[in-house]
Symmetry: C2
Subunit: 106 residues, 2 copies
DNA sequence: TATATATGCAACTTTTTAGTTGCGCAAATA
DNA sequence: TATTTGCGCAACTAAAAAGTTGCATATATA
């Protein structure tokens, strides 16, 4: 199945992996040590993240360092953009409400 | 089960619902008409979105208008913030690379 | 070259999720 | 008051996802 980034970040373990490697590239083994699960389970999460290109492998001998792909993460940001206007409006309305309450107190 | 916003937005139908009601509040029936699925299926998606407070109900007689809760969507934005620095760095590096290539062409 | 290590893939089990049908309740309307 | 309409909840089914064990492959090292 073709993975999409929304499905990829819906899993807490995968989010944790992303947070870790955003700081520093890690091998699958290094990741598995951080979580209470088998290496193979982590490996499956890596596969999901790799398929949707949120991470990129760098082969160094028999080790594979996975890097965070910031560019792909921006797709979320783009999706979120459609709602930004909404929340700015809603907060402006809140401001107005607060101003009104303030006025009434006088 | 306690829903979280990441799981909530991982479903395409739920993302479509959010996009719709960000523009205008809708009743479950109105939403169901937009999608090729039963009203009950939509109702379950509404439940998920409501439980994690991405939408808010407004009761009008026997109808319920669901509103988009922009404030909750910002949690997503906050989570994304931890990666912003990463992608700025990665893009700066890309800029440098492009500059280097440009230099070499001279 | 034999062995240890790092990793991915396949098969299987368990859990979760998406969707369905059927039902009950409350508000609107004839 | 009887009926229709809007909605949520429960039980069930089907599909997908998370995790396990076992195995194969490639690189490093004794």
């Amino acid at each position: 199945m073709k993975q999409d980034i929304f499905q990829a970040i819906s899993d807490p373990t995968r989010r944790a992996i992303l947070t870790l490697i955003a700081i520093q590239a890690l091998t699958p083994n290094a990741m598995a040590e951080k979580f209470d699960m088998t290496r193979q389970a982590v490996s499956k999460h890596i596969k999901v993240l790799h398929e949707c290109e949120l991470i990129k492998p760098e082969h160094r001998g028999r080790e594979i360092y996975y890097h965070f792909n910031a560019k792909k993460m921006q797709e979320f940001d783009n999706w979120l953009a459609q709602f930004r206007q909404s929340w700015e409006i809603q907060f402006n309305q809140l401001d107005e409400l607060l101003s009104t309450i303030k006025e009434q107190k006088r």
